[in-house]
């Protein structure tokens, strides 16, 4: 199991942040996820070994946080907020629209072409601009079905071009 040079560098640096090694588990899992697209079985074993905890303990933590994945997501992970503010402003309808447009039914489902995955999430801190969604690390606010169509089309094009 090998991490990239950047990830290794980040690991060494993060080790100095905490008085207890295991404290870097959650933030570092997020970086692992960015590197591999999800937390792979190999990286679970690796991080457990490095932090001197059991792989089971790593899995316990992963399963607690919904933003940590052990299965690949789409290239663009569409996270639609349905928490209270967004819900009042049509968040659930937006989620329904995204799902319908991309042809997925279950939470965290990946489209057959692997470009998108759709996830219902709790508050993403964009209440002032509800309803909102987050695609990977980018925010999209004051959503309407039309706006969503346009956003998703742009991402699809981007994916095809790459």
């Amino acid at each position: 199991m090998k991490f990239s040079e950047q990830l290794e560098a980040r690991y060494s640096e993060m080790l100095t942040h905490y008085p207890v090694k295991r404290s870097l588990l959650v933030p570092f899992l997020l970086y692992i996820q960015d590197e591999f697209g999800y937390v792979t079985d190999d990286s679970i074993e690796e991080i457990a070994k490095r932090l001197e905890i059991s792989p089971l303990e790593v899995r316990n933590v992963i399963s607690y946080y919904s933003m940590l994945r052990t299965k690949p997501s789409g290239k663009y992970n569409v996270q639609v907020c349905t928490n209270i503010c967004c819900q009042l402003r049509g968040g659930e309808e937006m989620l329904g629209h995204v799902r319908e447009k991309l042809g997925v039914k279950v939470n965290k489902e990946v489209t057959s072409d692997g470009i998108f995955s759709v996830e219902e999430v709790e508050c993403i801190g964009a209440c002032s601009w509800a309803p909102a969604m987050q695609v990977n690390y980018d925010f999209h606010e004051n959503l309407t079905p039309e706006k969503i169509d346009q956003i998703l089309d742009e991402y699809r094009q981007k994916a095809v071009q790459e």
């Binding site: 059991s54 792989p55 089971l56 303990e57 899995r59 316990n60 399963s63 607690y64």
Partner: protein
């Protein structure tokens, strides 16, 4: 969790429900209340484990605190005013229960825990009979995680006791919690299965029926069993296991073993063998009728036929070739009374000192060293509170699971220091503060090094600075307990005890079987009488019957077998032992007249001329001495038609030979006992009288088959066995001592010691006939996968 009460001298006074109570500073409120008989219910709180504060059942009102507090995490404070049964508290408990029951399946009528379920008890007490929930209960199918463990998620109330006892208690860490909120589940370490020590601690500690065992699940109801606390028959640690039995067509059936009453020296602990390896008792291969070999084949016989044949053959052999031509091999698993009786019978009736057993520790050397140095032995309980422990050899995790638990407890709760000296990387090094990995077979050199012979370090193959640090740290310890395995024998034990006694250490000598120590103490040796009186020595006259004992030592086990092979030993009597498995090439078993008392047709029993089906430990009464010298009462739990206890078999053979049974077992020939019938409504008086007389050794012993008569004799005649009968009868452990008899007068034969080599999932012959142990062994064999190259 640190043991907060250990050094507390200061008491704190508080008021609970209007009552003034006091407890040492630092005590948790829930414990302080418990000590004063005030029950605060809790699911997640478990004494000795870390605090969780998860279940919210223990909420109480504390004056000047705005919200209710969890009594399990609140240390008591001076002047605290607490309400534990106020209307508000009761309402809160009811609400907590309602939440816990929201997804609980209420399948109590079929649940294993029904009748002994903590959630059931609390619901019964606090109501919560109605629910405001209208949602459908979320269901998950049950899962089997190992040959032992089943998990039924809907019943789980997420108290995390299992997770903590597996990790903190067992140091296995095989269970975790996954997901969150009401989606949480207990998760095993291999995704859908467990890789663990299969101890079953998680199952017994579960307050509900979420974790169940393969051997007990859906078999019976708790109230259909009788529960008898007796001593485990497997290793030498002497755990108390509570046997649950139920009537069956074969007499009675053992349905489970557990330690729910927590009354033994093991308190919470039992390993897989103590919990699940009782099933050999009902193995279809068990023999329940006496067998006589005719024309090379076993045929069934009645007890009278078999016993008469044995007695006749013994008489014949005695008459024709004298007492030296009979050999007796005793057992490590029979009771003290049986061992004592067997050697008394061999010596005074057969007139031979040809008696021995499979020695798994050098107890004669140990007894000699302890006596010569006026040193003390340590009990199993003391290990858990010892400030420092030196472990030389052995692998307690595999061979002495309770000892390993006690050591872990000391390190975890008292921050005790553990010094491990071993040729292998044993698991307990995880708890060790000092580790010396030495070359195989150099344990005696290490002792020599400790005693000041620095030159001995050269043989150990250990870095000198490691040894020096360990030695210096040890010499600074007080209250040290030194535990050593069979690697140390003979003079090495003398040297170790001499070293340890200078720093005030106590000692534990490890032997492998449930009554190995008892077999040694009761004199199953050709050259030692009970209490380590040398046959050739002068102190033997302390034994009332010693005048009848031949003056010269008899054959040890090897010489007996040699004699049997050569024809010098013409009759061999093997009680609860399987020497043929250890000496498979030996022809000793086919030549003499061979009598075997056992449960199964073992390698030895195959050669028998007469096979006598014996009861095993859970089917008889008596006492056993664990490897530390802790004496405990064995209570008869189950019964199987056809078999007899070794005690009864010996007596019956003695009677048929024409011995005076009353001399062997001094029962009274006639009865004045009032069994209660004559008093009618006052028969309770008779019961109380029975308890009183029993406790004082005054009970009228009317049957020669009562092993407690022999216990009376042991208490009187065997040095170190004069224990309190009242305590023993109450089920408490009693310490025996290794007493000074004759200075340096105890002959020992270190070369005769051969460890049994049992591991966590094996237990000699008994293990081979245990379906549960075999299934676990099989699983672990299959689990060994080739390691992938990097």
């Amino acid at each position: 969790m640190a043991d907060v009460t250990q050094n507390a001298t200061e008491n704190v006074t508080l008021t609970v429900n209007g009552r003034t109570i006091s407890a040492p500073k630092g005590t948790l409120l829930i414990e302080a209340c418990k000590q004063h008989g005030i029950e605060i219910p809790a699911f997640c709180y478990y004494p000795g484990l870390s605090l969780q504060g998860a279940c919210r059942m223990c909420l109480v009102e504390i004056e000047k605190m705005p919200k209710m507090q969890t009594a399990c995490t609140t240390p008591i404070a001076e002047g605290m005013v607490v309400q534990t049964e106020s209307e508000k508290v009761v309402q809160a408990r009811k609400a907590t229960l309602e939440l816990l029951l929201a997804n609980h399946p209420l399948d109590c009528p079929v649940c294993d825990a029904g009748g002994e379920c903590e959630l059931q008890d609390m619901t019964y007490k606090y109501g919560a009979g109605e629910s405001k929930f209208i949602d459908i209960k979320s269901h998950r199918d049950e899962q089997q995680w190992s040959p032992i463990v089943f998990y039924d998620r809907p019943r789980c109330i997420l108290c995390y006791r299992c997770v903590r006892v597996c990790g903190e208690g067992m140091d296995v860490w095989a269970l975790g919690i996954q997901n969150r909120g009401q989606g949480s589940v207990i998760a095993p370490n291999k995704g859908d299965s467990l890789d663990c020590e299969e101890c079953g601690m998680c199952i017994d500690i579960c307050p509900v029926g979420a974790l169940t065992s393969a051997s007990y699940r859906y078999k019976t109801r708790p109230w259909e069993m009788t529960h008898v606390g007796t001593v485990c028959t497997h290793c030498g640690d002497g755990c108390v296991t509570t046997v649950g039995v139920r009537r069956s067509e074969t007499g009675s059936e053992i349905v489970r073993c557990d330690n729910r009453d927590r009354s033994g020296i093991n308190v919470d602990f039992l390993c897989i063998k103590g919990r699940y390896a009782y099933d050999f008792a009902a193995n279809p291969e068990r023999i329940t009728t006496p067998l006589i070999k005719r024309d090379g084949k076993f045929v069934s016989a009645t007890w009278s036929e078999a016993i008469e044949l044995v007695a006749a053959k013994f008489r014949e052999t005695l008459a024709a070739s004298g007492p030296q031509s009979i050999g007796v091999i005793g057992s490590n698993r029979t009771t003290n009374e049986e061992n004592y009786l067997l050697q008394k019978f061999a010596r005074t009736v057969l007139g031979t000192n040809n008696i021995d057993h499979h020695r798994t520790a050098d107890f004669p050397s140990f007894a000699r060293a302890i006596a010569a140095n006026k040193a003390q032995t340590a009990s199993m309980s003391e290990v858990a509170t010892a400030p420092a422990i030196l472990l030389i050899g052995s692998d307690p995790t595999e061979q002495h699971p309770l000892l390993a638990w006690q050591i872990r407890t000391a390190v975890r709760r008292r921050s005790s220091r553990l010094y491990v000296v071993n040729a292998n990387e044993i698991k307990l090094t995880r708890q060790a503060s000092h580790i010396a990995k030495i070359a195989i077979g150099t344990e005696a050199d290490f002792v020599s090094y400790l005693s000041g012979n620095t030159a001995a370090a050269a043989n150990l193959g250990t870095a000198p600075e490691v040894l020096e640090k360990l030695r210096d740290a040890l010499s600074a310890e007080s209250g040290l307990i030194i535990v050593f395995g069979p690697e140390l024998r003979g003079e090495a034990i003398d040297a170790l005890v001499s070293y340890g006694s200078r720093i005030g250490a106590k000692f534990i000598c490890l032997a492998d079987y449930s009554n190995s120590r008892g077999a040694a103490d009761m004199g199953l040796y050709p050259d030692l009488l009970p209490g380590y009186h040398a046959i050739a020595g002068s102190s033997r006259s302390a034994l009332a019957w010693a005048s009848k004992v031949p003056a010269t030592p008899g054959f040890d086990l090897t010489r007996m077998l040699d004699g049997a092979a050569s024809g010098a030993v013409q009759a061999l009597w093997v009680v609860g032992s399987n020497p043929a498995a250890r000496y498979p090439e030996n022809t000793a078993f086919s030549r003499p007249f061979l009598v075997v008392q056992d449960m199964f047709l073992t390698e030895t029993a195959q050669h028998a001329d007469v096979f006598l089906p014996a009861a095993f430990a859970y089917e008889k009464a008596g006492t056993m001495t664990n490897t530390c010298g802790d004496l405990q009462r064995l209570k008869k739990a189950s019964d199987v038609h056809g078999v007899k206890s070794d005690f009864e078999i010996i007596i019956r053979i003695a009677e048929k030979i024409g011995a005076d049974v009353n001399e062997l077992v001094p029962f009274r020939g006639h009865t004045f006992a009032d069994a209660g019938q004559s008093r009618g409504a006052q028969s309770g008086e008779a019961d109380r009288n029975a308890v009183f007389t029993e406790a004082r050794g005054l009970a009228s012993r009317t049957s020669p088959l009562d092993p407690l008569i022999t216990l009376d004799e042991i208490s009187k005649l065997v040095p170190g066995y004069a224990v309190s009968r009242l305590d023993l009868a109450a089920g408490n452990m009693q310490r025996t001592e290794l007493v000074q008899i004759e200075p340096a007068g105890i002959p020992s034969h270190p070369e005769m010691v051969e460890p049994a080599g049992n591991a966590l999932f094996t237990s000699g012959t008994l293990g081979r006939y245990s379906t549960t142990l075999n299934s676990v062994v099989e699983k672990h064999r299959n689990a060994i996968e080739p390691i992938e190259a990097d």
